[in-house]
Amino acid sequence: MTEQNEFPESGRVPTRVLGTPPADAPIVDSDPVHAPEGVPGVIPQDPVQARKAERIVALLFLVTFLAGAGFIASYVIFQVGTIDRTATSNLALGGTLTLALLSLAAGLTVWVRRIMPKYNLVQERHEMRSDDETREYVRETFLQGAEESGFVKHRLLRRTLLLAAAPLGLAPLVLLKDLGPLPGTSLRHTVWGEPTKDGKPRRLVVEGSGQPIRAADFNSPGGILSVVPEGYEEDLNALAKATLILLKFRPEELKSGTNLNWTHDGIVAYSKICTHVGCPAALYEQTTHHILCPCHQSTFDAADGAKVVFGPAARPLPQLPIGIDEEGYLVAKSDFDVPVGPSFWERGDAEAEVREKAS
């Protein structure tokens, strides 16, 4: 440490205060503590140190050169095509690129810090506002121009110009209308309400395999299936509303919330689309009969009409009326009686309407 002591004290007081940095390395920032005579604010580095630093910088730049060359070589040498080869290529390309960039960055930093002088230059600031004279000139010019243009004097011109601008401003908005069809009542229906081509009720099929489900085979209580409508297995628009979660209960487990007329032999079908914001409510806990949506953790009691027991969803998952066809496969008896999925402005209290209609 240099003897840059600003408080010469008796021998018993240390020249450097404990716990503070040495005087030549201020903590506040790179403000140099002392400036040599001659060039205030530009403090050259010690030439011996600078020469040492030069060698370090040169080494780092050389590493960058080699790594950069390695990057190009890696591109040629390592082909992709399998998972392993992609991984190797990624590692080689990324590794050389990283090394080249970091080494170049380090080289530049050493250059600035150990070869370039240290700076403590001062520049004056000026108020941002223009002076009064300028302001006055602009004011006058503005008024003069407004006067000359006649915009102020000619009222009819002014008003019709504003009038002319209004529809043009709206035009771009009008153009956006064809972005999509109007909603109509499409959010209220799912494909479960549409009979198949030959007029039969639509079968429930297992998501993924597309297998229809024979009620007699889906017989272990606690069982769960993700179900999609037959014929729409790959129609994402249909699936976004019609996907079901199919559960098998012992008859005594079902509570009053579940409509028993819509079940078949303890098999219940609920919409899988969460009534909160539409994620698939895909997690099921057998012991509690809870259906959990993994997005925002709305929890529904599957044994009790899928009513909400926790979380932000405000409505139960709608239940689909199901039965079996003549071959014993599960089918939808009709569409959901309320809209599925997240709430929307036009939805209204569909559940209450249904209750009213029933009574």
Partner: protein, 543 residues
């Protein structure tokens, strides 16, 4: 070197003859940039943006923003023959069949995370040091716009690959749009071109993601830089630094090279992450279908606070006249974002209104020296942080074996209590730190030397603080307080007569009152020997 090389003089003469660039360079080559570690935070965001533009352009050469169904026949064996959208297939293609494609995808994603993170911490730096004050309010607003647009840019970006995870984000976006009263259903149908998911949203997001928003970002970033350049950077308080000057290193050559090096560091670190830290492995998620989801789906970090807000909102939905308003979606989707962004945008103006301070400020505040501002900021961070944490409550629940619903209830309470506690603690800490500063100035710092007095008493000798530290501390500025005292006849000043005026005066007093005025240590400079303000009450006695 006595004369610049011919190659340079030739070109510069050509340019100067035609556009007079010399005048600009004369003024700006030696422009001074002050130095402080925290000034680098915004640069991280800037350089990440450059990297995003570069890598993003690369990705567009192969990405196909289509939702038409295709059968995957690329190199990734586990998905061979699987039906998927063109977008997902081309994203897989970039990952496995284009050399460097996976690297660029991962660098792009990491750079996006760092872009928003850099902006966020930069904004916090500007907030806590009061660098948004006059004349920089406009640049502050531009910054808020940049941050908001960056969130939108991120949302449209991570929806593009059309994998199962990105689809979950889209589905939530759809659900939130539906919840908007009156126009929500229409907006959703217009954005998605009909019912969700439709066949249009990816290509629409694509043009928004690669053209519309980056174009606006580029324009605003340029404006941000130009304003910074014209107004000159703020500086931290210190020796020789005033409101009228700027102290530091010149643009040419030092700052230029430093900035270049920092760009390369940023790029290098992002490349390092892109190489070794896997991010968004879309091939593991599979193609999107609205029927499926994986547990533990998480958005990118900057969407976490919205996700958390959605999770901790209790169920609340009302119906009237055949219409539905679902507050359990509307409130969490709009209110936290609204509070944070609007609060940030208005803060400079609210502060001016409260303090009546219309002066220009170029020396930044140390956060402790404006305790209420700092407390408000930490309070906001706490609010945001709790929401953010709750956005991962399923992970917290799984990893720390806490009941899921307990974490939700914790969040529901903490979102109100947390910011208040944070405010109080921060305020006290600021005052404490100010006291420490005052003590350093008036009594000096402990020297570690124990001295025995003639009467047998032991004391610790204090010495004055190092000059640069002392100057840094002395940079504390008084916060103006509105005049509200009654005059001789018991009449308050004009502004403080209405109820609002009285409130304003009260707030001003609370905001600006300096509880720990600095008693400058200068008066002790004449002393000789081992002095250190060892007053009667300040002795550190040894027992």
């Amino acid at each position: 070197m006595n004369a610049p090389p011919k190659a340079i003089t030739g070109v510069s003469t050509f340019v100067d003859d035609r556009i007079g660039a010399g005048n600009f360079l004369k003024r700006n080559l030696r422009k001074i940039f002050p130095d402080h570690w925290s000034f680098l935070l915004g640069e991280i965001a800037l350089y990440s943006f450059v990297i995003l533009l570069l890598t993003g352009t690369f990705l567009t050469f192969w990405f196909k923003p289509g939702m038409a169904e295709t059968t995957y026949t690329g190199s990734y064996a586990p998905l061979y023959g699987v039906k998927m959208s063109e977008a997902y297939a081309s994203a897989l293609n970039i990952s496995f069949d284009v050399r460097g494609g996976l690297l660029m995808r991962q660098i792009h994603h990491w750079a996006a995370l760092l872009f928003v993170a850099g902006m966020t911490v930069h904004m916090l730096r500007v907030f806590f040091t009061g660098a948004y004050r006059k004349p920089r309010e406009l640049n502050w607003i531009i910054g808020i716009l940049l941050l908001s647009l960056a969130l939108l840019e991120g949302l449209t970006g991570y929806s593009l690959p059309d994998d199962l995870l990105s689809g979950a984000g889209l589905r939530i976006t759809e659900g939130v749009m539906l919840a908007i009263p009156i126009v929500g259903t229409y907006l959703q149908f217009f954005l998605f071109g009909g019912e969700y998911p439709g066949h249009d949203v990816i290509s629409r997001f694509y043009s928004i993601h690669i053209l519309l928003i980056p174009g606006i970002l580029l324009a605003l970033v340029s404006a941000h830089m130009i304003l910074m350049w014209v107004q000159k950077h703020t500086q931290m308080p210190g020796k020789g630094r005033t409101e009228k000057n700027v102290v530091g290193a010149p643009f040419y050559p030092a700052f230029m090279i430093k900035a270049g090096a920092f760009f390369l560091f940023t790029f290098g670190v992002i490349a390092l992450l892109g190489t070794f830290a896997q991010i968004n492995p879309i091939w593991l998620f599979g193609p999107y279908t609205p029927a499926d989801i994986s547990a533990g789906s998480q958005p990118d970090w900057y969407m976490g606070f919205l996700e958390g807000a959605l999770r901790l909102m209790p169920a609340w939905e009302i119906n009237f006249l055949g219409h539905t308003v679902t507050f359990s979606v509307l409130i969490p989707a709009l209110v936290p974002l609204g509070i944070v962004m609007t609060g940030l945008a208005l803060y400079p103006f609210l502060e001016q209104w409260v303090t009546g301070d219309r002066r220009e400020h170029h020396v930044a505040d140390r956060p402790r020296n404006n305790p209420h501002r700092t407390a408000i900021g930490i309070s906001g961070i706490t609010f945001y942080g709790i929401l953010w944490l709750l956005g991962a409550n399923d992970e917290i629940s799984a990893n720390f074996h806490i009941s899921l619903y307990t974490t939700t209830w914790f969040g529901r309470i903490a979102i109100f209590v947390g910011p208040a506690i944070a405010y109080w603690i921060t305020y006290r800490m600021c005052i404490g730190l100010q006291r420490k500063d005052a003590e350093v100035l008036s009594h000096g710092v402990e020297s570690g030397v124990i001295k025995r007095m003639p009467n047998g008493q032991y004391i610790e000798v204090h010495t004055p603080p190092a000059e640069d530290i002392a100057e840094h501390i002395r940079g504390k500025k008084e916060i103006p307080v509105l005049e509200s005292a009654e005059d001789g006849e018991g009449i308050p000043p004009k502004g403080a007569r209405s109820a609002l005026g009285r409130l304003r005066a009260k707030m001003s007093e609370a905001y600006g009152t300096d509880h720990v005025p600095l008693t400058d240590g200068h008066h002790e400079e004449g002393h000789e020997g081992e002095h250190a303000g060892v007053g009667a009450g300040d002795r550190k006695e040894l027992h």
